[in-house]
Symmetry: C2
Subunit: 136 residues, 2 copies
DNA sequence: TTCGTTGTTTATAATTATTCTAAAGAAGAT
DNA sequence: ATCTTCTTTAGAATAATTATAAACAACGAA
């Protein structure tokens, strides 16, 4: 499933050549069972840890942005000093534990259908994101 | 309604002494009919324009943060380079026009009730925010 | 009032996430 | 192989936000 061939396909679909560095990024991003919430910095550090190889920060930014643009990553709307991304690109939402700065998945069923009863002429809905902030 | 006395009350409630600068900030923030979406930089510029007096950027940051903490301002969860705030602190949501970088209010009725069917032990819900991104 | 304390303003420096740059290197096509 | 095009990288540039510390203003008690 999450083999090198898969990574290469994702990269090519994103108009990126499959380089060693990008494959390493994919390894950390997509070779996992569960959804993965991360910041660029998290990812940057994990690459070193998990693959033993260093990838420059600029490459991490570029690759993540290309994946995001292509829809392989989802940006999570939180006001934080850092931008959070999610490898789960299916329709779902999040809890955000403000104190611990941690994200928790909310299945779509946990929130129920959201019907937007208003529309703006000439515009269509791109995404609907629910963020539930948690406190103690 | 939005008189100087009101501003002073808001400031005192936020543990801030009512200074000329802070009153000016209040003037721009709260002396209006409609909801007001802004970034710190927007506000900073409007103060100069509307009151003719300059307030330092640091004071704007401090005051906005105090009001936010006290609940007189709401932070709007968008991933943007700048943080957006809202003077409407009632329960409501937003459209975000990604291309034009503009926020539009969504009344609570426009979205319908959102019932969160999941809970995290020891945590309670602080807020539920819906962000609807718009594209052309 | 006046004085002393405490809080505030301000310009500026520091910090930090993100983007840009340009030179050296790698991938792909012929 | 070779040439072109894309990529990587370190480091610089940018920009939002936060911290600093000196001059100043609000407050309350005498």
């Amino acid at each position: 499933m999450t083999s090198k061939q898969e990574f290469i396909k994702k990269l090519r679909n994103s108009s990126l050549r499959p380089t060693k560095q990008r494959i390493n990024i994919c390894e950390v991003l997509f070779n996992r069972d569960k959804t993965f919430h991360f910041t660029i910095n998290d990812l940057f550090n994990l690459i070193k840890d998990k693959t033993g190889e260093k990838v420059s920060l600029a490459t991490v930014y570029n690759t993540v942005h290309a994946f995001h643009k292509k829809g392989y990553l989802k940006e999570i709307p939180i006001n934080s000093n850092q931008t959070y991304f999610d490898t789960n690109v299916t329709d779902h939402h999040h809890f955000y534990d403000v104190k611990e700065e941690k994200l928790i998945d909310l299945k779509n069923e946990d929130v129920g259908p959201i019907e937007i009863q208003k529309s703006i002429p000439g515009k269509k809905i791109k995404s609907v994101e629910v963020l539930v902030k948690l406190e103690d």
